[in-house]
């Protein structure tokens, strides 16, 4: 009996595919956003508002992830953008293999941005890299000010946090300052947006951030050629 040294990182098959996805997005200069939140926090509505604001400037594609139904794809499709619905049939998150398969439906298009709306879940999507450029998460004020420290990984690995439904604050005991303080203690560089998709408050800052990221990706991709 003897010992052999290995020291190999456990790179799962999904991470390898995610790296392939990432390489494809880099080559084509497509900015990819992975949008995550609990069910009902407002992902699809935020996505609708985002498309309204950006589709005049950029060519946007959407991948919708749900366990079942194509409700979300139908809502997005009504805005005139190309959308692909993935039904996981039970899986609690999208993974890179599902994304790779869906990408085939966009192959004829020249996209500036691809937004992936993940399955509603504040836990598992944080663990599965899809090949995206940025992760944005939504916490709506009705979910409770204590959520950042209860779900640290999701807040830690996101680049942007949208605090949504701020128009409801007068009816709640939710303190945004606590959400901001706790989220920042997990992730100092987190970009924060306070938004109401109903009143459209805060949407222009969100739009500007996205537009800048889409533009940056294009420039990077052109530089590398």
């Amino acid at each position: 009996m003897r010992q052999i040294e290995v020291r190999k990182n456990i790179l799962t098959a999904h991470e390898q595919i995610a790296q392939e996805n990432r390489e494809l997005f880099r080559k084509k200069g497509i900015f990819v956003l992975n949008l995550m939140s609990s069910p009902g926090a407002g992902k699809t509505t935020l996505l609708e508002r985002t498309i309204e604001l950006l589709k005049g400037t950029f060519s946007i594609g959407v991948i919708e992830g749900d366990i079942a139904t194509s409700y979300d794809a139908e809502r997005i499709g009504a805005h005139g953008v190309k959308v692909v619905q993935i039904n996981t049939g039970g899986a609690c998150h999208l993974d890179s293999a599902m994304i790779k398969k869906a990408l085939a439906e966009f192959s004829e298009m020249k996209l500036d941005a691809l937004i992936i709306e993940n399955v509603g879940n504040l836990v598992c999507p944080a663990e599965f890299y899809l090949g995206e450029d940025a992760k944005a998460m939504i916490l709506s004020v009705t979910e409770g000010e204590d959520k950042p420290l209860k779900y640290p990984l999701m807040f830690r690995i996101s680049q942007a946090l949208v605090i949504n439904k701020i128009d409801l604050l007068p009816y709640l005991e939710c303190r945004i300052e606590r959400i901001v303080k706790d989220a920042r203690s997990l992730n100092l560089d987190l970009k924060l947006f306070e938004i109401s998709c109903s009143t459209r408050a805060g949407l222009s800052a969100w739009k500007e951030w996205l537009a800048e990221e889409i533009h940056k990706k294009k420039v990077q991709s052109a530089d590398n050629e």
Binding site: M1, R2, Q3, I4, E5, V6, R7, K8, N9, I10, L11, T12, A13, H14, C124, E127, L149, P152, L153, R156, R184, S185, L186, N187, L188
Partner: protein, 117 residues
């Protein structure tokens, strides 16, 4: 962390390394797991036993070396343990800290039996 998928990936590495040295049997697999990997050791052991059934690693002991989350503060020039996911220097409260340990997810070493054993 989805332990079954992780166990499968670990097994791929174990088989590849065992084949390199023509091992007859694998008796122990040692993993280095950082705190941030978010792995639940009991679940992983359970899944590991499932995926090794009928293989040269059947019955192998899964040993886990845990690595706690450690940060380095460039202002204070000191390292410290990160507690309760608070990514702030415990001396000066600075949030721009470097994560220097705790993200490891690695097969560290194996214990094997050769053909001649």
């Amino acid at each position: 962390m989805h332990e079954y998928s992780l166990a499968q990936s670990i097994m791929q590495i174990v088989f590849a390394e065992a084949a390199k040295v023509s091992a007859r049997k694998v008796t122990k697999v040692t993993l280095t797991l950082g705190e941030l990997a978010g792995v639940f050791p009991d679940s992983l052991s359970f899944c590991f036993d499932l995926v090794t059934k009928g293989t040269i690693a059947e019955g192998a002991l899964l040993e886990i070396e845990k690595v706690p989350l450690k940060g380095y503060c460039p202002h204070c020039e000191k390292t410290f343990f990160i507690m309760n996911h608070q990514y702030l220097c415990d001396q000066c409260g600075n949030g721009s800290i470097e994560l220097i340990a705790g993200r490891e997810l690695q097969v560290s070493h194996l214990e094997i039996e050769d053909e001649t054993d």
